[in-house]
Symmetry: C2
Subunit: 188 residues, 2 copies
């Protein structure tokens, strides 16, 4: 039997696209960090990277994490501290990849999710099986705004099918990340 | 073959408990309405009731919905309009039940979810099977704060097991609702 898969996730704020397909940098929001950290902790994710090139956004995220890790929040709500301890900040995807490599000793496979269909996309069941047999760490990317830029989609080793193929694919990134982690790492 | 199940959901702001088990009324938040409406739309939920006894909260929710249904938002983002058109406001659970009965002609079965385990809780697979064979509408309740009050849990016809039995059960209500709808109504 193989060991449990090593899964990291990243919430990408740049490069992502807006409603019109234009490249943008989105703002980091408090609620994304909290919700996705709690989902990451639920499903045994190793690290949750918040990726943004904006230094002021990383500073805001750092203050939120510190409040819950060592400030008033740590004693007010220990469960939240558990979740936020998984969060790391990175200026770009390559920074996150370098940190995974440094900590795990292996370069992670890049996995993308998208609300748009693609011919080479894996089913959730197919990706789950592939992950179970792969000793390499996997870094799953979630895009904010209207989704990951093509330049990131093209770098992926694996792409997973949309959550609702042929249906309404407009979940919030918070809800989509929870559903994807449940399908990939939840009980079956 | 039986018809598709009729599922409504309700986000309950009272009576729920706080961190210390005390009965409270939580505030309605914009992001809960948006995220859960989008999840409801994704999974074919019929109605999403926002339940709060606070008239000012219902007025706020009404303004958010109107902005996206008929205001600027309706033309800016039609997908959001689709999702928010499912939202209804109710002062209490009985108000939501009465509206379901009026619209569907049947009194709904009440279904609760809780992060706390219970001897009589159904597995997700068990509940999914039960739902598929039941012609009655089902109204699934989600609690804000630290969860639904005992008085509501006791009224339930069915209770579903926690998302992570024996594990970390501290998802946001936005993430929990998405995962529960995916497990109950998503592709299998």
């Amino acid at each position: 039997m193989s060991a449990a898969p090593v899964v990291d996730i990243a919430l990408v704020h740049h490069p992502v696209v807006d409603k019109n397909g234009k490249l943008v940098t989105t703002a980091v929001t408090n609620i994304d960090i909290h919700d996705i950290a709690r989902s990451a902790r639920t499903y045994g994710v190793r690290r949750f990277f918040v990726v943004t090139p904006v230094e002021a956004s990383r500073a805001l995220a750092r203050r939120i994490i510190e409040h819950w890790e060592t400030g008033f929040g740590a004693t007010y709500n220990a469960n939240r501290k558990d979740a936020l301890s998984l969060v790391r900040l990175a200026p770009d995807l390559d920074g996150a990849i370098a940190e995974v490599e440094l900590e795990t000793g292996s370069r992670p496979k890049l996995v993308v999710t998208s609300a748009r269909p693609a011919a080479d996309a894996l089913s959730f069941a197919g990706y789950r099986e592939l992950l179970a047999g792969d000793p390499a760490p996997h870094l799953i990317l979630f895009g904010t705004g209207w989704g990951l830029a093509d330049s990131l989609l093209q770098r992926a080793d694996h792409r997973i099918e949309p959550i609702a193929p042929g249906g309404y694919n407009h979940l919030s990134v918070r809800a989509a990340a929870a559903v994807i982690l449940d399908r990939v790492l939840g009980p079956r």
